[in-house]
């Protein structure tokens, strides 16, 4: 350990910070970032970035909103472990045509992009896919608030789930068969 953190920690101890966990050290860290960009009414582009101690890679995937199908995808490997890894970029194209509305889309992505290509590309793509409903809900909430600035975001989100059966049944907070309320 360098002198700087020791000095820094001692200074904190003098300030009364007693529960500082000086023996701890981060040994692995991963960040996965997804941004959802609406190119137009029918196309949602996800930008997915993975960065950790071992790997760094990025994908851009266009999803056709009406049916959830993956229309286009491209990716880049920035850091990887073997000289063979970059060949996995071409296997991203196996995802084109898979619908994020299919029951087994995660298994398909794991098999076609992950097992045949790279598991970490698959992880990014799956995270992008999981964001589909949330991104659409965010757009709906934004529209609701634009029309009615006093509208509650929670109510707008609830209303969107009630109007979209495809977003229901994923967990107990979004039960299946939740119909729009009369009020």
């Amino acid at each position: 350990m360098s002198a700087f953190p020791i000095f820094h920690l001692c200074a904190l101890c003098e300030l009364g910070v007693e529960d500082l966990r000086i023996e701890f050290m981060i040994t692995f860290s991963r960040t996965l970032l997804v941004g959802g960009e609406f190119l137009d009414e029918k196309t949602l582009r996800f930008h997915g970035i993975l960065e950790d101690n071992i790997y760094a890679m990025e994908i851009h995937v266009d999803v056709e909103i009406p049916d959830g199908k993956i229309g286009k995808i491209r990716g880049e490997m920035k850091r990887y472990t073997t000289p063979v890894c970059p060949q996995a970029v071409s296997f991203l194209q196996k995802a084109v045509g898979i619908s994020l509305r299919e029951d087994n889309w995660i298994s398909k992505v794991n098999r076609e992009v992950g097992q045949r290509g790279c598991q970490h590309f698959a992880e990014i793509l799956i995270e992008c896919g999981r964001c589909l409903d949330s991104a659409l809900m965010a757009r709906a909430v934004e529209k609701t608030q634009a029309e009615n600035p006093g509208a509650s975001p929670q109510e707008a989100a609830r209303a969107w789930v009630q109007q979209h059966p495809e977003a229901q049944g994923a967990c107990f907070a979004r039960p299946r068969g939740e119909a729009p309320r009369a009020d």
């Binding site: 860290s29 996965l32 137009d40 472990t81 999981r130 965010a138 789930v161």
Partner: protein, 204 residues
């Protein structure tokens, strides 16, 4: 709108001087009115998600994994302690800071179900069975599984660092030794596929 377009044009011109390869990229067209519509492509995002997982080595030899999801709607944190050497989850706690649905707060007690589960073959099905599905919380299940994955990567990272040393041939041998030690890696990705040069001479 006119001012915006002028601003973009200036940036693009400057980019072209320094990075001519951008000219071939579709990114060059962002912000420029879409032909025939008179509308500019919207570049601001209304949805973002950031997931982070960190592994800490504890003084008692165990591992503490901190997982956090923050997106436009939700903020969820999970902290799990893994006991070594059996990688059993001995404690799990969580916090939900924001959520689109008030019911999500009820998900936290579910986390206790994973205490006693070990990282190993079948853990994905076990955790999905305990936390996922219509009666569960998808984010909590993902958080626990991504924490388990981070533990595996915590052990993998030093080996990968070691594999980076030496000549190409030496590095290949190190990867092959890794495959022999863990044959489950075979056919798990393009690098360990049957026709991969890293599998040459290996019968797995």
């Amino acid at each position: 709108m006119i001012c915006d377009d002028l601003l973009f044009s200036c940036e693009i011109s400057s980019s072209l001087i320094h990075y001519p390869q951008l000219f071939l990229s579709e990114r060059i067209f962002t912000g420029i009115p879409i032909k025939g519509t008179g509308q500019a492509r919207r570049m601001t995002l209304i949805f973002m998600r950031n997931k982070n997982v960190e592994v800490e080595s504890l003084a008692d030899g165990n591992l503490s994994v901190s997982w956090r999801l923050a997106d436009t709607f939700a903020e969820i944190e999970i902290r799990i302690t893994f006991r070594l050497p059996d990688l059993e989850m001995i404690s799990a706690e969580g916090r939900i800071g924001r959520s689109p649905h008030p019911e999500c707060a009820q998900a936290l007690p579910l986390l206790q179900k994973v205490v006693g589960v070990r990282v190993g073959p079948g853990v994905r099905k076990i955790v999905q069975g305990l936390l996922g599905g219509e009666k569960g919380c998808r984010e909590c299940a993902e958080g626990v599984l991504e924490s388990c994955n981070a533990v595996i990567l915590h052990f993998t990272a030093p080996q990968i660092r070691e594999n980076e040393k030496g000549t190409e041939e030496e590095r290949k041998k190190k990867f092959q030794a890794m495959l022999k030690f863990n044959p489950r890696l075979a056919r798990s990705c393009v690098a360990f596929a049957d026709d991969s040069p890293l599998r040459e001479g290996l019968n797995l």
